[in-house]
Every structure is written in C-alpha cells, then in structure tokens.
C-alpha cells in the first residue's frame, strides 16, 4: 500500500551456479546487508536445473502467506508453480524488511515489491538469453520457466541462463514492466497451501515439533493472578519429582505487561513430567496487586461511569447536543462485550539454545524480529546477530503471537542452562489464564433522527480500560467508526478504569467489538426510523466520495466501495424477499435474516445471517458475505478459507458463551470446556461473493469477521424481538 516503500535488488551467483536475487524491501541498512553471504538468503534463486527457490518472508500462521506471497513472485517471474520451492525466512529486519503477520498487512505491503522482485529476475534471465543468442530481449517471450525466440525457433530453460544472469546488474524496480491482470498465470488460481502434504504426513513443521539433540522440556509456573509476585516455593520437592533435571526460580523484569513475569521453570526429560512436577512446588504468591480486580466489579463500574457523564472528548463534529435537542426522535442504548482469549490450538511454545554467548531460537511468532530484539535486550547480548530466530509454522495466531512473552521465558530458561536446548510449552491452562485478552468494553450510544427519518446526530460514550493517561492495548475507540464522517453531528467520548489484566490484539482488533455494538445500535436506529439497517447504511454512503481518515492517519473510506458490497449482499441473500421474522408461535422456531456492514483492515464487508431461535437455542443456517479487497483475489483457496474461518470465529464469540471472567485477578476459565471454541455442528453454509474494484489487493485475515456478529444479533432481533446488547448471546 505504501508506494513510498523503497526497494533495491542485488544479484549474485549461487554456489554451484545459478541466479541468486536479493530483494530488500523497506529501506534496509545497506552496510549491514553487504557484509553477509548473499546467496544463502537470496529472495529468489534459480538453480541450473531450473528449480526456483523463493523465500517465504512473513510468518505462516494459517493465513496462507507462505503460499500467496511466493505466488506473486512466481507469476511475475513467469515460471511454473511446480518448479517452485519455498523456504521460510529467519527473522531478519535488515535483510527482509518488516516480517510481521498481523493487521492483514502482508498482502498490501508486499504486493508491489513481490511483483517487482519476480519481474526483475525475469528481466535478467531475458537479458542473459538475449546476449547468448545475440538478439534483442524484446523479441523474447517467456512461459512456464522457459524463454523462447520465435523468429529463430530457439528456446531454453531459465536454469540454463541463470548463471549468466547472475553477473548482470538488476534493473531499477520502478523501470520494470509488470503484467496486466489478464496475463497472470498463477495469481488468481486456487493453489493448495505449500505445506499441506507435510502437515498431513505429520512431519515436524510447527514450533512445538522442534527437536534438538539433548533437548529438555520445560514448563514455566507463574502466579495464579495477574501481577502476582513469587514469595516462596518448594524447589527441592519439585527437583525430586520423576524426570526433573532442573528447577529454576526466575525473577521477572517487573514489566507485568509485555516483559518477563516472575516464574519457576521446571525442566525435565518429557514435557508431561515437567508439568506433573508443578504440583510439588506448593508455590506461594503475593497476589495483593490484583485484589478487587474482578469482571463483576468492572461491569458495575462501567455502568457507573456511563451514568456519571460523558468522559473525555475524543472527537466532535458539528453540534451534537443541539442536534439531539432538535431531533424528531431520539434513540439511546447501552452495549457491552467481554474479555476474550485467543485459544491458538498450538499452545504457546518456544525452543531456545544458549551456547557460547549466542542464542538460537525456534519460535511460532507473528513478530519474530521484535522478539529477537527483546531477547537481545533481556540477555544483554552485545549484538543483534547473537540472537538467531528461526520462524516456525504457527498453529494459529489470531493476534496472540504478536507478543513474545513465551520467547522471553524460553530464552531466560536456556540462558540459565548454557549448552542445553530447552523447549518451553505452555499447558492449555497456562494459555487461557495468561493471555493478552481482547479487552472488554461498554458503550452508551445516543442517536437523533430528523422528521424525515434521517440520522443527523450520533454520540458514543465509550468505557474502556487504562491508567487515565494511556488506554490499555487494543482498547482504543476507532474514531472513524461509522456513522462517523457520514453524518453532520457526532461526539465520541471515553472513560477509563484500571485493570491488572494484560490485553492485546485479537483478530480484527477493535473492530471485532466496535462493529457488534455500533451496527446493532444502528439497527435499532433504523427500526426507530421505520426502515431496515441496509437502507439506513445505503443512505449514509449514498454520496460517492473518498473520505480522508480523521487526523490524517489511517486509511481513506470509499463510499462507492461500501455501497458496492452492501448492494451485492442484498442481492445474493435475496434480502428484499426475506420473511420479516417468522415469529415463533408456541415452541416453533422463529427464523429471520440480519444484516451488518463494516470497513476495517482495508477491506469492505457486508454480511447477512439467516438464523432461527428456539427457546434459548440459536441455529445459524446460512451466511452470505460480500467483500471488496481490491482488484485481485491472489489465491481463492486461501482467501475463501480466511473468510469462512472469520465468519465461524465471529459466530463462536457470540454463540459459544465465550467470556473470560476474573475474580481478584484470577482468570476463572482454564480450558476448552469453559472457554468454548466453534465445532463442526454449528458450522453454517457460507456463500462468498467478491466485489472487485480498481484498487491494489489487500489482506483477508481480519476484515470479514466483524460484521457477522451484529448480522447475527440483528437476525435474532428480527426473529424474536429480543435485542442483544451484550455478548456473548444469552437468550431469555
């Protein structure tokens, strides 16, 4: 997306012959790069036998980037996908640029650089062939990894000219001719994930599968309440337990948020034996810091704050007070939603091996380069190169692995046991109780309608967590949340309360909660105006315009793209012909459709849910999705998987009772019986329609999720008349 992103290319000869092309995305330090052997980490390399090797740049967490980004390179290179091998890059900011899998940003930030890299390699191969045959490069054509000269009937494989190409100077990225979409041969094709066969054979791919000679397994026992400090523990008793080799009390860095927590590491021959020995510790903790921090108390305090007044003003447009006073009709309601855990199916884990002053790490992380810096700092190692971070496949991310707390723990344990590789694995209980939770939040909304039923004023008093100066991570209000920028009078205000819980980003952070609250409330507003939500939303985006982001930072909002997905989903779901809530009579299920729209992470999504309600049981039959993520779906297989996953994920948040509850800082949930995830029987039919628009492609990890929750709750209202103002859904 950032077209100012600088890139340069460097070619060298592969050991054994062939072309190694390095691509530096995002203005790295040239000096740092130049000092290293290039061919080892070339972005694209072509061996004499034609084998193409492309680096998987960003961490693979199930969102498909290890396949989709190399697809972009391979298409512009014009090679055969069957010739492509992909190797996962180590964490190296200087060499690969930003390697974050988060914010649905891998696609928008890499689309152009990946294309340029592939096109540059192709141009160099063409130039080498042209020189060999003494013909102009413009007379040459490529297809599936071969170069042909039609006039003379000559042809050769890429591998045959790769070594000659390695001696050329790479072209300037901006000078390259890129393919027209009609010329794509790989982009846009459904291509199965590159690691699929290995996963299905049970080969070691994930962080937790790392195996090293002499490796031991560890658990890291922390306080039961957030912010707790270790008082004492029976180290000797744990040490005497079967299989236990080391028991190490580790003093944290006092940074309860993102640093190293106080803990006791138990290191054993088998992970299960380390975990069993925890019971012998009889650890005592000072939990006083968390006293009084309970979700019940938070909820009550939020209602007090909402009742007390408006809080701190974050944004004001027009004169909302006057507009509300003059409104023909006013609507107000309060909404709320709980803390949520991530529940990545692969528990947090990290393998570390500290030896001779350097540490080697294998980690499933969404931000491996950040973890690398934190480890260097924590262990006070002289150079960043003293920390090597191998990026493993991650068994889910969902935002949890944007933070590297488990990497610091593994590094601290390994540092205490030089020469011994150690694999730290969290139990599921550790994971549920020590997450960076999606923060709970509350909203006091008010809206004003004029005599014609038009929405003229909207206010939101948002209650979140923070210390007064700074809002907790992922607990900020999006100041462009619709209907902001679409109506004349608006006010967003905020109140904060402190929490000891660590909070963080969960798939579609902010939006996953704000969309539920705001689109459900706007459904109420639409009903008050005698119309439905899609009609209200279409009125709000009726004027074709591109709205600059508030405060100058962020992404512009295009009303034409919004209207495009709204219209598409109304059409695909046959919204106009829907039954208006077949209200259930005496025990009969009530069934209806609900709608919602949202824009986040560059993606425009409108969704319709068809649900029925029988007593307190909700069944979702079908979900229609219309999404606009630009001109091109890079890999339809992966793209549809992301959308389906997001839809079911959202439905699970609403329907599986997901809520993290805390008493005096102690999380009450512990495993998948009381923090429930989606299972196959709740899975609805999902119909996806892409609305293509003339914009560079953007990411799909997140933006499909937010609308499904209010589309569901709006369907429940249409079916039963029960308005769901609090998540998870609990029906009377």
């Amino acid at each position: 997306m950032r077209s100012d992103r600088r890139m340069f290319l460097k070619a060298s000869l592969l050991a054994g012959g062939g072309l190694a092309l390095e691509a530096f995305v995002g203005a790295p330090a040239r000096a740092a790069v130049a000092a290293r052997p290039a061919a080892l980490t070339a972005f694209v390399s072509i061996a004499p036998d034609g084998q193409v090797t492309i680096v998987g740049k960003n961490p693979e967490i199930g969102q498909g980037v290890k396949t989709s980004l190399p697809m972009i390179v391979a298409d512009e290179l014009d090679c055969d996908w069957a010739q492509v091998r992909i190797v996962q890059a180590d964490a190296d900011l200087a060499r690969y640029g930003v390697q974050v899998s988060g914010g649905s940003m891998s696609t928008p930030t890499n689309w152009l650089p990946m294309r340029q890299t592939g096109a540059a390699a192709r141009a160099m191969l063409l130039q080498a062939a042209a020189a060999r045959w003494s013909v102009p490069a413009t007379e040459l054509a490529t297809s599936k990894g071969r170069i042909t000269h039609a006039a003379s009937g000559r042809s050769c494989g890429y591998g045959e000219v790769a070594s000659a190409a390695a001696r050329l100077t790479p072209p300037a990225p901006d000078s390259l001719r890129l393919k027209q979409p009609a010329e794509f041969t790989i982009i846009g094709r459904p291509i199965a994930g590159i690691d699929g066969p290995r996963v299905l054979r049970g080969e070691p791919l994930f962080g937790i599968d790392t195996r090293l000679p002499g490796m031991l397994y560890a658990v890291y026992e922390v306080a039961p309440a957030h912010g707790g400090r270790l008082v004492k523990a029976d180290i000797e008793a744990a040490k005497a337990a079967p299989g236990v080799r080391h028991v190490l009390p580790i003093t944290g860095d006092g940074n309860a948020d993102s640093g190293l927590a106080d803990g006791i590491a138990i290191v054993a021959t088998h992970w299960w034996l380390a975990n069993q020995a925890r019971a012998k510790l009889a650890a005592q903790w000072d939990l006083s810091a968390a006293k009084g921090h309970s979700t019940e108390r938070y909820r009550a305090r939020a209602q007090e704050l909402l009742a007390a007044g408006d809080g701190q003003e974050l944004r004001r447009e027009g004169d909302p007070d006057a507009a509300l006073a003059a409104a023909a009709k006013r609507v107000s309601a309060r909404y709320g939603y709980p803390f949520l855990a991530h529940g990545t199916l692969e528990p947090q884990n990290c393998t570390a091996h500290f030896k001779d002053g350097r540490i080697e790490i294998w980690a499933p992380s969404q931000t491996p380069a950040r973890g690398r810096e934190l480890v260097q700092k924590m262990l006070k190692l002289p150079a960043l190169d003293d920390v090597i971070v191998h990026v493993t496949r991650a068994g889910g991310g969902f935002g949890r692995r944007l933070l590297n707390d488990y990497m610091l723990q593994a590094a601290a344990i390994s540092h205490a046991l030089p020469g011994t590789p150690v694999q730290l694995i969290w139990s599921r209980e550790d994971d549920i109780r020590r997450d960076y939770y999606r923060p709970a939040g509350w909203h006091g909304f008010e809206a004003g309608l004029d005599a014609a039923g038009r929405l003229t004023a909207f206010t939101d008093h948002f209650v979140t967590f923070g210390d007064g100066a700074r809002v907790t991570r992922a607990g900020t209000l999006t100041l462009t949340m619709p209907p902001a920028d679409l109506i004349p009078h608006l006010r967003f205000t905020q109140s904060q309360m402190p929490t000891v819980l660590t909070t963080g980003w969960l798939r579609a952070p902010g939006s996953n909660a704000l969309c539920f609250a705001s689109q459900s409330f706007l459904d109420e507003v639409a009903h008050a105006a005698g119309k439905d939500l899609p009609t209200l939303m279409r009125e709000l985006v009726a004027e074709p315009r591109v709205i600059a982001p508030f405060g100058g930072r962020g992404v512009p909002f295009d009303t034409v793209r919004a209207k495009g997905v709204i219209d598409k989903v109304l059409q695909s779901s046959a919204w106009a012909e829907r039954a208006h809530g077949s209200r259930g009579r005496s025990g009969e299920a009530a069934r209806a459709k609900g709608f919602a729209f949202y824009f986040c992470h560059h993606g425009y999504f409108a969704e319709v849910v068809d649900a029925s309600v029988a007593g307190s049981e909700v069944t979702v039959h079908k979900v229609w999705v219309a999404g606009d993520v630009g001109s091109q779906i890079i890999n339809p297989f992966g793209a549809e998987n992301q959308v389906r996953g997001a839809i079911i994920d959202g439905l699970a948040q609403a329907l599986m009772g997901q809520s993290i509850e805390v008493v005096d800082g102690v999380v009450q949930q512990s495993n998948f019986h009381d923090f429930r995830l989606a299972r196959m029987p709740i899975t609805p039919d999902i119909e996806i329609a892409w609305v293509k628009s003339d914009h560079p492609p953007t990411g799909l990890g997140e933006p499909a999720l937010p609308p499904v929750i209010p589309a569901l709750t709006n369907a429940i209202f249409a079916a039963t008349g029960q308005r769901i103002r609090s998540l998870p859904v609990r029906l009377a």
Partner: protein, 166 residues
C-alpha cells in the same frame, strides 16, 4: 517402567512412568511429533491416534493401558486406503489453514469411515464434533470426508438448505 509398544508397524521399547499419556511417549520418547498436544483434557481431539483402528485421545490414554494394542499415528495412516483417500481429498480442496489440528481430524475421520463407509451429514457432524479446528475449516473438512467416502460433496448441504427454505 519399561513398555513394549506397537507403533506404525514397529515395536518400540520405552522406559517411562506407566501413567504417562501415550501422547508424550509418542512425542518426547519416540519423536513422532505429528500427533499434537492441544488441551491435555480430551477436549480438542488434536492428539487423536488409532489403537487397533479405533480413534483414541492419546492425551488421556496412559501408556500402561495400551498393552498389545496396535497404534497408528498420522505418520503412518497414509499407508491405509482410507487414510490415503482422506489425505488426497484434504489436499485437493485445500482444507487446512494453520494445519495444527489436521492430524487429529484425519485420524478421527479415518476411524469414522472405517465403521461408516457412507456417512450422512449428521454422521459426519456428530463424529467430528470432538475435534476443534480453531481456524474453523469445518466446511471443507466435511466436504473432504464426503469426497473420500465417494459421496457427492454438495448433496447433503443442498438437501439441508431445501428443508429449511422459507
């Protein structure tokens, strides 16, 4: 304690406490890491293996309880016709996202097809309800099982939709 285990057609001898779950014997003693740890409480199904052809949660199966049972893991299930058909179907429609649960899903599905070669939609949904896919690849898991069973992947879904048409 020393235990003789029949795993994937080979005999292994391991020296571990009898109450150690089979999962950790496979992963930490035998290096068979395809079988995954997800919850440790038989709640997610990631650790599913076959004992004498029947799906079992290896995180809750003490090694002392395995006896002469023939253990098959994801590393070996492809040598069976059902396992191979499931793996092929999985790849054909690109079922997986992160892939972490998929070993357990395939092992559970193979157990289902061994007893119910032509499962109905309800058969599949109830048999697979114990296997969590956090990425929620459920539509395609269901479709792949139907493909592997030689059933039309779409039929049942259409029937269901017709039944609920309003």
């Amino acid at each position: 304690m020393s235990y003789r285990l029949h795993v994937n057609g080979q005999v292994h001898t391991v020296d571990v406490p009898g109450d150690m779950p089979l999962l950790w014997v496979l992963r930490d003693s035998l290096g068979l890491v395809g079988t995954k740890f997800g919850c440790g409480q038989a709640l997610c199904g990631a650790c599913t293996v076959h004992v004498d052809g029947v799906a079992q949660r290896s995180c809750q199966l003490p090694v002392s309880g395995v006896g002469e049972g023939k253990i098959t893991t994801i590393e070996h299930v492809g040598t069976t016709p059902i396992g191979a058909r499931l793996q092929a179907a999985w790849l054909e429609i690109d079922v997986m996202q992160c892939g972490y649960c998929q070993a357990g899903q395939v092992m559970n599905a193979a157990s289902l097809l061994a007893t119910t070669p032509k499962p109905t939609r309800d058969d599949i949904r109830s048999a697979m309800a114990g296997n969590i896919c956090r990425c929620a690849c459920y539509n395609r898991i269901e479709e792949a099982i139907r493909m592997a069973a030689g059933l039309d992947p779409a039929d049942d879904a259409q029937d269901e939709e017709k039944a609920h048409a309003v």
